[in-house]
């Protein structure tokens, strides 16, 4: 009963925030709604005993949202209140991409054969197990992700130094 209540609470927070994130046109508010959505998902992770995943979600995305706000203010600020009005083709593209993503996740979830009300995983995903899995079974995706991040890092450094030359 308690798990169900908390599940609907966190799920509701994530859902409402996600809708607010899409519906709002003020960039800083969008970032705040995004924080709420990511926090709700982190709550769902904690509810499933995935403590590391939840905490990492908060660390990474709180920092990410922070940067979003900074860019929202610093780079786009011409009037005191920054609003974002998308063009029609942008809306259509976003809806298409979103629908495709949702369909993909929904099919994957439904075909996984999970039933509602099943007992949650109890502390299976410890730090040690996650680390072992990452460096054995999932080594290639892990390395690919780090190479991607390295490329982003180098690109950022290049852009930042470009002005001086």
């Amino acid at each position: 009963m308690f798990e169900a209540v908390m599940f609907y609470l966190f799920g509701g927070v994530a859902l409402v925030s996600a809708i607010g994130c899409v519906a709002s046109s003020n960039i800083v508010r969008v970032a705040c709604w995004l924080l709420g959505a990511l926090g709700g998902v982190a709550g769902l992770y904690f509810l499933n005993f995935a403590n590391l995943l939840g905490a990492i979600q908060l660390i990474v995305y709180a920092g990410g949202t922070l940067l979003l706000i900074i860019f929202g203010i610093m780079l786009t600020s011409k009037s005191p209140w920054i609003t974002y009005n998308p063009k029609r083709w942008e809306v259509v593209t976003a809806v298409c991409v979103g629908a495709a993503l949702f369909a993909g996740t929904a099919i994957a979830t439904l075909s996984a054969g999970l039933k509602p009300g099943e007992a949650p995983m109890t502390a299976n995903a410890t730090v040690k197990q996650i680390g072992t899995e990452l460096l054995t079974s999932y080594l290639v995706p892990f390395e690919a992700a780090s190479v991607l991040l390295l490329a982003v890092l180098i690109g950022a450094a290049y852009l930042a130094r470009a002005e001086k030359r």
């Binding site: 003020n26 705040c32 924080l35 403590n51 709180a62 922070l66 706000i69 900074i70």
Partner: protein
């Protein structure tokens, strides 16, 4: 100038008569409450299970008493026998009437073993009311008496009393909690897990444990029954955590003002509360609650209102995972460290939103500085924390102290900071980065009063402003607590745990309790680190934003990377088990420990020296007239 002209020394002539009256009132109230309890207790013992008498005692008697009490007191007041107390009698009488009605409902409708429950409620309702009122009276009276007799003892009694309550109540409850769990498992052989709400024993099972619980003292079973669920433990612990978070800023702000005063040859707060203005924070808090609740009309009002909570709530949440001793954690998470860092990270978002939502240039400058500072300093801070984590091989804050192999319980020389040179340097790097993450000077650019008015706080007033400060001081404590746990042995005493007295006598236990008590050492050590943070704030000037970023990116970041690599190699070499390296490790460990002791002794000497000579800088007038100056 004489004492009589100073308002805080002067006492009105009828002061003692008022004190006497209050003491009499206290005795009367307390005696009355005891009498009521005694009567019900005796009635229960004599009557056993006779339902008629129970009904009579549970329903008509309290209602009649509750109705008659205000009338009687009113008559006494009208007759001129007593002057006040009608409101009190009204409250107490109301509680009695409510208890009677609730009892009636239980007895008539629920029909379940209402015999004892009704009596319990009957006692609980008025007792709660009386206790609330009595505590207030008691506190005021005791404070007045003690403030006269022992001006220096009053604040100690107050803060000590609050701290003791916060520690003792959860402790007693935890003992009871463990006791009842043990009882359940040993007596009934039930080993299935007790969940958050469900599982556990029924009242009938519980009362069948012993003949005492089954018969006359069955209400004890009702008292014990809720204690078996985790939710009760959580509520009690949460009360302790919230109380602690409320006391920490009140005390630390006063402490900071005193220390800053001494550093600047001032006295700091001296008036409120008597001895050294110890109640200044309370006065400030009351003032802040009554200030205008201002929201900038041109700002983003919703976010402006949200921001203080977005700052305060994560600071509270960080305490969820912060252990005070081995079993003294609200939740001993396996990833406690990551969780706390996440909470500290979210807190910054609140500050930035606060600055932006104020729609004020100073505020936006403040929050942008905070954002730049935090985004940069999170990296050296996290990497410095990785070094002890790597040495101990765990992210759990309890294991990192208590682990048998890598733990820090074997005396101060086994503390992480003295383990190897890389850990030692990492402690320093972490301390500097934690100053930046708490917005403490020399990194207090988000607030910088001299150039940005008050930075992100400019538009805030009243209770919202107060929340930011609660969050800041709570975060300071969390950061110091992390430093204590990861580098300075956490709750382990400087002596090895193996040296604890083996004697089972009362003296032995008391000595062990003081010398090896976990929470005590934890609070002491993190308090000392807080003190260092205060020194640093009032000693160093604020640095510029470009200096802040230079120090982070070009000095601390490369340094932590070198430390991380060096620590990796050190651990690898240690695992090889070579003799010469083990000897080197021992020598380095002892040298670092000796250096630490020397630094500590020198600091202690200067603290004592400053305390002994603090009167040199205070004027003679102040020494003569201000108590304790």
């Amino acid at each position: 100038m004489t004492h009589a002209t100073l308002p805080w020394v002067e006492r009105s002539p009828d002061f003692w008569s008022r004190i006497r009256l209050q003491a009499q009132a206290l005795l009367l109230c307390g005696g009355g409450a005891m009498l009521v309890v005694a009567v019900f207790g005796i009635a229960l013992l004599i009557q056993g299970r006779d339902d008629g008498v129970v009904f009579w005692f549970s329903v008509p008697a309290p209602i009649a008493f509750g109705a008659l009490l205000p009338l009687a007191v009113g008559a006494l007041i009208a007759g001129g026998l007593i002057r006040r107390g009608w409101l009190l009698s009204l409250i107490v009488g109301g509680h009695f009437i409510a208890a009677g009605i609730v009892n009636y409902l239980i007895l008539e409708w629920l029909k379940f073993d209402a015999y004892v429950l009704g009596i319990l409620l009957l006692l609980v309702f008025p007792a709660l009311g009386c206790a609330t009122l009595l505590t207030g009276f008691l506190a005021v009276t005791f404070y007045r008496v003690f403030a006269l007799i022992l001006p220096r003892a009053a604040p100690i009694l107050f803060f000590g009393g609050v701290a003791a309550l916060l520690i003792v109540v959860p402790w007693l409850h935890a003992l009871l909690f463990e006791f009842i769990k043990g009882l359940m498992q040993s007596e009934l052989g039930r080993n299935e897990a007790v969940t958050f709400f469900g599982g556990g024993l029924t009242i009938a099972e519980l009362s069948s444990i012993s003949p005492i619980l089954a018969d006359r003292w069955r209400f004890l079973a009702y008292l014990l029954w809720p204690l078996q669920f985790d939710v009760v433990r959580d509520i009690v612990c949460l009360g302790g955590v919230l109380g602690f978070i409320n006391v920490i800023p009140l005390f630390t702000i006063w402490w900071e003002r005193k220390v800053s005063g001494r550093i600047q040859s001032r006295l700091g707060p001296m008036r409120v509360g008597g001895w050294h203005g110890w109640a200044q924070s309370f006065a400030d808090g009351i003032k802040l609650i009554f200030k205008e609740d201002f929201v900038p009309p041109q700002g983003d009002k919703a976010l402006f209102r949200l921001a203080p909570y977005l700052t305060f709530v994560p600071a509270v949440c960080a305490f969820i995972a912060l252990p005070f001793a081995t079993l003294w954690a609200f939740r001993a998470l396996d990833v406690a460290l990551v969780f706390i860092l996440a909470m500290l990270g979210i807190e910054v978002v609140g500050v930035i939103i606060a600055g932006w939502a104020s729609n004020n240039k100073w505020s936006v400058y403040g929050s942008m500085r905070e954002a730049c500072q935090m985004v940069s300093y999170e990296i050296p801070m996290g990497m410095a924390l990785l070094i002890p984590v790597m040495t101990a091989g765990t992210l759990s804050l309890t294991t990192i102290v208590d682990d048998a192999h890598f733990g820090q319980t074997g005396g101060f020389w086994t503390w992480m900071v003295f383990r190897n040179p890389f850990c030692f340097a990492a402690a320093l790097v972490y301390f500097v980065a934690s100053l930046a993450s708490c917005k403490r000077a020399p990194f207090d650019l988000p607030e910088s009063e001299s150039e940005l008015v008050a930075g992100f706080l400019t538009e805030y007033s009243g209770f919202r402003w107060c929340l930011f400060f609660f969050a800041e001081y709570a975060a300071m404590y969390v950061v110091c607590g992390l430093c204590t746990i990861l580098f300075f042995g956490g709750w382990s005493s400087p002596l090895p745990a193996a040296w604890a007295l083996t004697s089972d006598s009362l003296f032995g236990r008391a000595a062990n309790g003081v010398l090896f008590s976990g929470p005590l050492w934890f609070v002491l050590k993190s308090g000392l680190l807080l003190y260092v943070q205060i020194w640093v704030r009032w000693t160093l000037p604020r640095i510029r934003i470009d200096q802040v970023l230079y120090a982070c990116i070009q000095v601390m970041l490369p340094l932590t990377m070198v430390l991380l690599l060096g620590n990796t190699f050190w651990i690898l070499l240690e695992q090889q088990g070579w003799g010469w390296f083990t000897a080197l490790t021992g020598i380095v460990n002892w040298a670092l420990a000796a250096f630490g002791v020397i630094v500590f002794v020198v600091c202690l000497y200067w603290i004592i020296h400053g305390y002994v000579n603090n009167r040199r800088l205070v004027g003679t007038l102040a020494i003569e007239h201000l108590p304790g100056a």
